[in-house]
Symmetry: C2
Subunit: 310 residues, 2 copies
């Protein structure tokens, strides 16, 4: 099953030529999750041939325009193109009021159900769950209430090794084996030891999106060991004071967090328009955390379900 | 002095690849007027190297998203780039409330003065005047309150023909000649006949912007003889019923209005995404009004101050 991230925008608030404001699409199986929605997101979706009707959830990190000014246009287009599929919209307090007012003044009765989930950006909390994934808020520290999002696949069943399975096992017992239990008789004696007949499940993949924030170590426990960390890196570290003042991070800080969290891979983005060439930001991060890449427009990374068998 | 229109977007509400939502810039001398501001307008300004700090007036025709969803981002960018010049913003009821709420939720105290002028889209009325131009609303007929805008240069002074001017004329008398008066003595006897010593002034140029609307002949008196008429042409005429139902116009209708108003030139725009090739729309319009062009992204037209001397 796909677990793939696509970057639609890499720019911080002041726009830069050929860069777009923040938006990302996380594909999990056939479902798309849109993470932030800066101005021009619907054009970027069109450019990369991503069908917006497949988006089931939209997550808005905070109410600075470069993270949500594309939302109104995208929802309008979904409406005009006769979407009927329900949409979940997660965002901080204020977003629902803004949308309600927009729809009122444009005399629009959106013809598909939008369920608005107001999130508390100050806590780590599960805000979404389906058969495949959970999503938690990651509290950020920015000039307005702001959170990141942690996407985690749920634990997957263990593999049954057919040739080792005793023939007396019933279907319910097979299910219990898949979920890691041993099979015991009525006296508690082990009949089939789980590890003798199963192998490890496929990995449960994870992606942490750290939107606009100061350097903030207290999220380390939540993002520990994730497959992919996106962290904003608005500035080079020679501007660390400017970063602190504006509640942003430097490339070096993003990489430091990645190293401390022992993540597998780091994406940096949300670059200040002052950087025409992004190579120095990448090099600064790589000096601290080698497995770093630039989260620039069009960049895609699929995370595989590696099998680490016993 | 320049009187030049630049098209930033040609698309109707549903976006189409490589087309942008409605926005136009009318340059009058050194002042820029932005007319509508669909999503992506700030990117388009950047693409065409138009400095947004030169925009003094923004006119929003109506509150359908494809005409104003770029406004929040543009104003935010002006703020972030430390604009201090005052800005006039003209728009229908509801726009000020939307902006106020946007700035509130994003905790933004815009650092330049915005004067919001709420306009009544149902009447023909002068809403703006400076030394050079006047701007009037043109009532449209759309699904929400909507108006177009008529930009007119003020009358210009007549030319004095130096070699024909009697030497006794005082500076105030010269000014009166420039404004078309004869020079008389205290008994009312004509000393200098205006037409003997002056020639016609440069033309006062005019541009009529007809935003989303049904075909509507009652604006003919206001747009009679304008140098340039922009009129929406969302559909071909085989979809005239769809046009009426959605309160839009066809290319043929736009051209019919141009012919009846005896305008000098017609621009058509706001094309439905269903038309990949716009040539048939142009041909349909040209069959009725030859001097028609497509108002597509990047299209520029300067209107000259032709001298029609006596």
């Amino acid at each position: 099953m796909d677990f793939e991230l696509k970057i639609l925008g890499s720019s911080s608030a002041i726009p830069a030529p050929n860069r777009f404001h923040t938006a990302q699409v996380l594909t999990v199986g056939s479902h798309l999750n849109l993470i932030d929605c800066g101005e021009g997101t619907q054009s970027q979706l069109m450019r990369y041939k991503i069908k917006h009707h497949r988006i089931l959830n939209i997550f808005i990190s905070h109410l600075h325009g470069d993270h949500y000014f594309g939302l109104f246009g995208l929802l309008s287009t979904m409406h005009l193109q006769m979407r009927t599929t329900p949409l979940n919209l997660f965002g901080p307090p204020g977003l629902a009021e803004l949308l309600t007012l927009q729809f009122k003044v444009s005399n629009t009765n959106i013809n598909f159900p939008i369920t608005f989930h107001e999130i508390d950006p100050t806590v780590y909390k599960r805000i979404y769950e389906d058969k495949t994934i959970t999503v938690h808020t990651l509290p950020m520290q920015h000039r307005v209430p702001c959170c990141g999002f942690l996407f985690k696949e749920k634990p997957k069943p263990r593999h049954l090794v057919k040739e080792k399975l005793p023939s007396f096992l019933t279907p319910p017992q097979l299910v219990r084996l898949k979920f890691g239990e041993d099979i015991k008789d009525e006296h508690g004696k082990i009949l089939v030891r789980n590890k003798d007949v199963t192998t490890s499940p496929k990995r449960s993949r994870s992606y942490a999106y750290c939107s606009d924030t100061k350097y903030k170590e207290d999220i380390l426990p939540y993002i520990q060991g994730v497959d992919l960390l996106y962290h904003e890196a608005t500035f080079m570290h020679d501007m660390v004071e400017r970063a602190a003042y504006t509640h942003h991070s430097t490339a070096q800080q993003a990489a430091t967090l990645a190293a401390k969290a022992n993540v597998k891979r780091l994406f940096i983005g949300h670059f200040s328009a002052r950087y025409k060439d992004l190579t120095p930001l990448l090099e600064e991060a790589k000096a601290v955390f080698e497995n770093t890449a630039l989260a620039i427009e069009g960049k895609t990374i699929g995370i595989l379900e590696y099998d680490f068998r016993d």
